[in-house]
Symmetry: C2
């Protein structure tokens, strides 16, 4: 990057500076994970919120449905006023926590583009106890600005893998901020127009004060792939497939759905859409004009069976190996109308979310075993990420010339990689902050500072109907149980004698197969008898003491015998 030529005084003139003071930037999530994106911009107790996303669970959070941002900082500070919530695009990691948080925040005004608005409202129908949401339609790349307290906001169009993705240009009392999340530059997008570089450059007007920018692919060299390349590769498959095509992708990947429609129409195939969310999103996108489809292209899946296989495309969910989605039902022969048949072509037009690799591998293998031909992104470029690679990120920095830089969105090491990119582009290290979740960043006219103040950001987990009731203890128990199972000892102790009443009951799950371990079980019963007698001999009945002794000694015995450490759970009842 060439040296900044705009002088500090010129910059100040361009900015609507009302005063000095401190702007706090508080990331409630998204800085140490992929997902749970929610950022606060706070100036004199007035707060602008950007996004309200959820995070999907992983091996460290077994059994959890998903994780939402912790809003304790907001709920415990009633003096702070929430001015509004800006939604940058319609992905669940940016909108998914709205139904769980919006009532706790007393329904602050929401701002979103029509597509995001429609998807948010559709999902809200599943939460019938909530009030109806009012969402203001955001205008993009227009003269329109939104004035919220000390903030004056314009939006600009960016490319991602869902249409109507926006960045925010925020004028604040301490300077001009660009918030650019989840974007890439695609000069040949499909079902979208390219980001308008000259518009963004004009908005930046020679240099902004702070850029917050997406780091999800900051470790990947080069430019991200254009959707045009994907289209060309998909066409190769469509041109040669001799039987049915199943195209599986993310339900929200609207441009990919449109590509499949176009290619199906070109190659004379009818299209059935399978999977509830995909069908919902398809309808919304179609209504808003993001998907165009000839009036006789779409068919019901039942009718698909009556057509010659080479005339059929099935758009479906399940490319992540999800247990309940369409592809999994197909391989398990549980789908109501369809079976995999020899000669079917299955296209995994998506990347694999970390943690799903094995499920996807098993799915692909089972499809292949049932005679299908399977294509995935490692074999051919049939999926493009929605996130910019290193050269895209450099383009953004070069386009808007930030004085200060703060990487957002992605694992910590990705933020660091993005910080290095910024440094290599000429931004001074003292002008770059790499924050952790909850860490308060202070921006003043002259300075950006990573404070050592943190707001709470520990996981709030949604599990069934419970929100936030599964904590560290429950999770740790689940992990222990999953490793070596549980070993339960029930000891009824006779009040009078202090001895075991009958022999102990032993129940074990996930540890050893009880029917084949009779000898081991018998030995622990005998040990229990001895331990109880010993404990009650030394002192009067003390169930905690007996329990602890049983846990320690039998736990040790089981480990010696098996080298496994089940959770040992003694229950001692005096009768």
């Amino acid at each position: 990057m060439r040296k900044r030529t705009t002088s500090r005084s010129r910059l100040l003139q361009k900015t609507t500076l009302k005063g000095g003071g401190i702007l706090k930037i508080i990331p409630l999530g998204g800085l140490e994970e992929v997902g749970r994106n929610m950022t606060l911009l706070e100036y004199e107790n007035q707060i602008l919120i950007v996004d309200m996303g959820l995070q999907f669970p992983d091996e460290n959070t077994p059994g959890i449905d998903f994780i939402i941002p912790n809003i304790e900082y907001l709920t415990t500070h009633p003096e702070k006023k929430i001015l509004g919530v800006f939604i940058t695009h319609a992905h669940y990691d940016h909108i998914g926590a709205i139904p769980y948080l919006i009532d706790k925040l007393n329904y602050p005004p929401l701002y979103a583009t029509p597509l995001a608005k429609a998807i948010i409202l559709k999902r809200q129908e599943d939460f019938s106890h909530l009030k109806k949401l009012h969402i203001e339609n955001l205008q993009v790349n227009s003269k329109k600005f939104y004035e919220l307290g000390p903030f004056r906001i314009k939006t600009f169009h960016l490319n991602h893998n869902i249409p109507e993705t926006i960045g925010l240009a925020i004028n604040s009392p301490v300077g001009r901020i660009f918030y650019a999340t989840d974007y890439k530059f695609d000069f040949q997008p499909l079902v979208d127009r390219p980001a308008n570089l000259s518009y963004i450059a004009n908005l930046a007007n020679g240099g902004i004060d702070l850029l917050l920018s997406d780091s999800t692919y900051a470790d990947t060299p080069g430019h991200s792939l254009s959707e045009k390349v994907i289209m060309d590769n998909l066409e190769k498959i469509f041109a040669t497939a001799k039987s049915r095509i199943f195209l599986a992708t993310f339900a929200s990947l609207i441009s990919r759905l449109q590509q499949a429609i176009w290619l199906s129409e070109k190659y004379n195939r009818k299209v059935a859409i399978e999977g509830r969310t995909m069908r919902t999103n398809f309808k919304i996108a179609q209504k808003l004009g993001y998907i165009k489809v000839n009036k006789d292209t779409l068919i019901n899946v039942k009718d698909a069976r009556r057509l010659p296989p080479r005339r059929v495309t099935i758009l479906c969910t399940g490319a992540q190996g999800e247990p309940e989605a369409v592809l999994m039902k197909l391989v398990n022969r549980e789908h109501k109308y369809l079976r995999i048949e020899k000669g079917d072509t299955i296209i995994f037009s998506s990347s694999t979310v970390p943690g799903n690799e094995l499920a996807v591998q098993n799915l692909k293998d089972n499809l292949a075993k049932q005679g299908a031909e399977v294509y995935h992104y490692k074999m051919l470029d049939i999926h493009a990420s929605g996130h910019g690679y290193q050269e895209d990120l450099k383009l953004m920095i070069n386009l808007v010339h930030p004085r200060f830089f703060m990487p957002i969105h992605g694992y910590y090491s990705l933020l660091k990689a993005h910080a290095q990119i910024a440094e290599s582009m000429g931004i001074a290290p003292s002008h770059i902050v790499v924050a952790s979740n909850g860490q308060i960043v202070e921006l003043t006219r002259d300075n950006i500072r990573l404070t050592q103040k943190f707001v709470p950001t520990n996981y709030i987990m949604v599990d069934g109907l419970g929100v936030g009731d599964v904590g560290e203890v429950v999770l740790r128990d689940r992990q222990t149980l999953s490793k070596d199972g549980i070993f339960i000892i029930i000891a009824l102790v006779d009040k009078k004698t202090g001895l075991l009443h009958n022999e102990a009951e032993i129940i074990s799950r996930g540890f050893v197969y009880m029917k084949e371990s009779k000898d081991l079980i018998q030995k622990t019963k005998k040990m229990t008898q001895e331990i109880v007698a010993r404990c009650t001999k030394r002192q009067s009945f003390n169930d905690a003491y007996i329990r602890n002794t049983l846990r320690d000694e039998i736990g040790m015995f089981l480990f010696q015998q098996t080298k496994r450490r089940p959770m040992v759970l003694p229950v001692v009842i005096e009768i």
Copy 2:
């Protein structure tokens, strides 16, 4: 591939055909997974075994140490004679099951190269109850052949990421077979010589009958990377690093260890090796001449602290995020002598084994947070796979001109991808078999046939001291427990009244946090009381009936209240 010009009659002359008959090829593992490699070649009840490997556990086998091949087919057929076991190289997925199987097979003769032999014998020391192994040193690329029953075997050198990797050229009564597992072609390997193509071509002598070939990367286009490229990229890091370098890789990746030594010596660094297996392998490789190191290069890790940081390299384990390995101890500040310090360079010179992605990501993040600069293979080519990509696999086919083809090693969809490559090279589909684990393949002089006969290959799991005692039931329990935990109800029923003696005891782990769910617990206690009374009113005490009713009704109640499905475990005791 150009059309085969050698006529059938010429081929036959070249083959040492003693008779006709059927050769059975029986893969006991390695065809639907990565790991657990073990293949039987059986002719008239005489069996040659190739490799005896283990598989590492994944999310579907929680708590398991590892999985070994099922040898029921061998142990239940005493009439079959095991002629010998050929080991192709020293990786655990090819040798790791030896200590668990070799005694059950009555110690058949083992054949391995010196490096594999040394590593097998070293590991055997951990199994003191076993007899001493006698392993014959294999000579490679030599005139020497090994005659075992109807088989006449020569070995040829291949490249992989451990030295002394071999392929087998097996003459059998039904034809000449090449067994090529875990290989790539590297024309500039380090610490190894390139595979000798002309030697292999001569051995194939214009065309073999059957090629079995490694499919692990059969879905990846292009050529595999040469170790020379890796060396050049590693040098870029060594040339600029200003403080300590930690290079983490697989403990068996001997060429990478040598590279680190060479680069350290060139850039004037001393080297400490941390991690037990890595140190063991290093010593063995050094003794056999595979690692050359100046006499004052190696230092003790304690001494590393006394040197300037820029003079120190630490070779260490833990690149897969393993909980007990060196890197994890470092980030957890549990290492006895070392801490991560600002400015340290950490090189992950390895790929990430599927299933470990998240653990590795967390590790990288924690290293970055502690101030280290982290490099991994996505950023720079600092790791090369040991497996050939599509062009390597084509090279092999073109080099040995097989009449029949059987892809081995890798997930089923990789075998399919490899079969497609073979077909694209001109091998007729009827000459290609894609087998599943345990499926018997029959090779005759004129034909290869995928039978529908299967030998048992279900998982034999090693968990602590138990081998094979953890089965489907235990695993399923572990998975259930890990999702929503366990809910135990202990009901003491009074013999005389048929009513609950005191209130029920409830214990829950991994389901809800009991202290915060008093209301729910109280309600289930009350339900238990009612259910017991109802059950004993209808009929005399029947503990199975009471248990089932409790399980069903309370399970349903808990689901309604929480939308979670813990394992409900009622214990009913009459007193």
